[in-house]
Subunit: 325 residues, 2 copies
């Protein structure tokens, strides 16, 4: 099995050969821009790993790996318009840099390019199964974004709905990347599904961890200021669980901070974090996160290939959780 | 061969069985709204006709016909956002009725639904060829929209670039609908390509006719006020040809009207139409349009099925040109 860095390099060399330098440049420049902003290239690497589990000869999975990366970036470009986000990976978002229309239309063409790259298969008989997997997850990603936007204006959100939202918005793409890789690599339906479930559960665990780190993480270690979710009143697992467990007085305090528009950010972060600590929500979140991770590893266990071949996926999942990648 | 009305009905019954009533409703309501706004259903009917040319048993082309209609409506929804259009078929556009974010995200999900319906084939081995045809045209439609937006701010546009733009934005979808129908119906590569060329040329002829009618059409007959393109300084074939042929004084007059912001609309329409008449651009446009139509019929002629089976396509093209459908 190839190592993560090796797969990242392999993917980046392929990406380099596939730059979109055709006219009209107003349409394709934003595509190149967002694809070259960097990132961990996690999804394409997972797709390649999925293929590499079943075959040494997995270079023919590179177009599908690029497809998944293009799709991920399509969703970032359109989400950034919808969320009015000014920055992405520390650089101006596409709609800020090139204008909103360019953001919409370049995103559209990226979604079509996704299908063009998914279709580049050395074994075209795999296409129906790959499209079935991909179409479903792509629709789910849109549904996840819709639920996420809905939650912003909803007064209360069930934790089960929140978990479903992060599954749709984040996990199914990670899961689908692994499954599509498995299909291309020649893995059977059962193994492909086990890998999908592994990815789905890791994805949810990862997002829960994200919620925890945003409030309780070490800024030095994670290079990110804490408290952003609290400042923005983001309905994370921590806030939803706290609302569920809070007594009348704690609920009042939480609502006070949520409803006040201008005030000291650090005061708000401290007050809300204090309640989270009283209610032990960090530990509850960690326990849930660990349950998802254990379920993930059970599914990985069930994939019918030699244990040693699967170790890299286990390692990658652990690195992801530790934010070491 | 089935008649147009019969195919429209067949398509509408299928559409009815396929309404998108699932949650989240914020995502799917706009999809149902735009699909139920009506229209001629020209593209799905053409797809069904393409299939029916080669087989009596063409019901299995219905999902692909719906795919093409969903794609067409996806492009309307996103184009309407980019063009800031308030109305579509006399009703509020999706982004006006449901908000811009709903317009973006529902459009995205429609593009994915397009692929989902394209994949519903009774013969999955046709999928690679169908996707190859569709992916190319879908990218071209985006490119056409980009060129169309570019032209708005470009000071001068070549007629050849204009013709290429209307080909991309309008014709390739009509052409591709016919070709995909032919593939599903079991037509060979050569016949499918002849049909594509038939549709491509009819599409360009149709758009040129649109330019002519917008200035010279009979408002009573076409139910549409004339002069809209002139008022908006739209770079149609008529204006571009007039700019090409105009002498200094005519050029000055045209530029005067183009550059004046407020003034009498009817005066502007009269003055520009007068120059069009002096320069005979209506006739030049008509001649060009007829050349495309003749080329279209040559390609239809070359399709290797009985003449009587092709008559309905010829008739439909003529009805389209006469705006009788």
């Amino acid at each position: 099995m190839r190592q993560v860095e090796e797969l990242q390099k392999m993917f980046l060399s392929y990406l380099e050969t596939e730059s979109f330098d055709q006219p009209p440049q107003e349409l394709y420049q934003p595509v190149n821009y967002i694809l070259q902003l960097g990132g961990k290239r996690l999804r394409p690497v997972l797709l390649l790993m999925g293929a590499n589990l079943f075959t040494q000869n997995f270079k023919n999975a590179l177009p599908a790996a690029l497809a998944i990366e293009i799709f991920h970036n399509f969703s970032l470009v359109h989400d950034d318009i919808m969320d009015k986000a000014p920055l992405r990976r520390g650089q101006p978002t596409v709609h800020i840099r090139y204008g909103q229309n360019a953001g919409i239309l370049s995103g559209d063409v990226m979604l079509i390019l996704t299908y063009q790259y998914l279709s580049k298969l050395s074994n075209p008989s795999q296409l129906p199964q790959i499209l079935e997997t991909f179409n479903r997850l792509a629709i789910e990603v849109c549904e996840g974004q819709q639920y996420d936007m809905n939650f912003e204006t909803q007064s209360s959100v069930e934790i089960s709905d929140y978990l479903r939202m992060i599954e749709l918005k984040t996990s199914v793409l990670i899961a689908g990347a692994l499954k599509i890789g498995a299909i291309i690599g020649g893995g059977g339906e059962k193994d492909a599904t086990e890998l999908y479930e592994f990815g789905r559960n890791v994805g949810i665990a990862f997002q829960l961890q994200d919620d925890i780190l945003d409030t309780f993480g070490d800024p030095e270690k994670f290079g990110k200021k804490t408290g952003g979710d609290i400042v923005q009143n983001k309905k994370t697992f921590l806030l939803l669980k706290a609302m569920e467990l809070a007594n009348e007085s704690e609920k009042k305090t939480l609502n006070h901070w949520i409803n006040q528009d201008n005030g000291s950010e650090s005061e708000k972060i401290n007050a809300v974090t204090q309640i989270y600590k009283q209610l032990n929500v960090q530990q509850l979140a960690t326990e849930l996160m660990e349950r998802y991770l254990l379920t993930a590893f059970d599914h990985l266990e069930a994939v019918g290939v030699e244990k040693s071949r699967k170790n890299i996926l286990k390692k990658l999942a652990n690195q992801l959780m530790m934010r070491e990648i």
